[in-house]
Symmetry: C2
Subunit: 208 residues, 2 copies
Amino acid sequence: MDTSRHISDLVIKRLPRYYRFLGELRNSGMSRISSRELADKMGLTASQIRQDLNCFGGFGQQGYGYNVEQLHEEIGHILGLDRKQKAILIGVGNLGRAIANHIRFEQLGFQLIGIFDKKESLTGDIVRNLPVRNTAVMDEFCRENLPDVAILCIPKEDAMPIAEQLIKLGVRGFWNFSHEDISVKHPDVSVENVHFGDSLMTLRYRIK
Amino acid sequence: MDTSRHISDLVIKRLPRYYRFLGELRNSGMSRISSRELADKMGLTASQIRQDLNCFGGFGQQGYGYNVEQLHEEIGHILGLDRKQKAILIGVGNLGRAIANHIRFEQLGFQLIGIFDKKESLTGDIVRNLPVRNTAVMDEFCRENLPDVAILCIPKEDAMPIAEQLIKLGVRGFWNFSHEDISVKHPDVSVENVHFGDSLMTLRYRIK
DNA sequence: TAGATTGTTAATCGATTAACAATC
DNA sequence: TAGATTGTTAATCGATTAACAATC
């Protein structure tokens, strides 16, 4: 392995899936697995799994394979799940509310520390044990609490100004549910898009 | 162009984004655009855009570029947005409810025709103008209404049996919000996964 | 006609797969 | 030790980028 070389986005996108499968295997009581077996279960090639893992280190043992629990933990560590970062959520519509309640942030390397909405009538509502705050106090809140990432569950037209405000306040990543492309204008921050429309359209294309 | 050759998944995943950008440009009153201009706006190369589009046909004109409105429409047609397919949604938790209410199905090539949940107490509730039905009557409903795709907003452990039941009933595609991988076991059907956990983990990885 | 920009072919780059020596 | 399976290098495959002739 060569830890110094650049790791491709495709590899990174596969890591959570490895993590998920290994977690299941561990829960089912399996203690070791070969790249071949894992490949069969995941619909990949053994070569690819070995190449992927060797971007980060030699986690296996010749003649034996990989220790399921240890590899699961290693990948969790590579992803950074053991070091929580602070997240805020903006936009408490039916989507924002569902995301706030549905996502197991702690298991995914985050701690949700604040929820905001511009609508005055929502201020003070309790969502997942947090009081909804007005976006007017977001500046102050961020200066005090220094969130690392922001979850944008707001309409397209609000996304860019809010993102730019947050970038100025030190937010370095966005989980973006709005239909706005932030990265073209801000290649410096990390943006993970969840574009439902795009996703559903690709499904529409495939069903012919 | 050569319409007969296989079209890569990467191209297909870019189509909705082209569609989105062209829609915005059209709404802003722009009538023509060159591949160079579009590339700059989208953070791609002009070459890539021309290659992508030429998978489906020669939509531009030398010396002129592309007609925004016409190209937007063409891509919509390629995606199949003008031919609606029938969709059902299973699982009316806070996520399923949010998806049902939040997504503009009609704009994305679908018509939502049924909503199901196994929880008796939800039967009869109205979600987005549709009555929630019990999963017990799903078989009968599908035989009558022949849905093309199913949206799975159910827990991991319920996903595989429900998917297999629906495959038998002729469902050919899944928009899968459960943390279960359906395609490994069923490579014959189209599955578009929305794995929130995976998505958020890649963001966690990138913020270091 | 001259300028612009496509459609398309060729060159490059990167990712996946295959092969195999190292080694547990 | 023999068998198994890794880590890693080499070969293949596919996707992106560059170049340019065709043409509006």
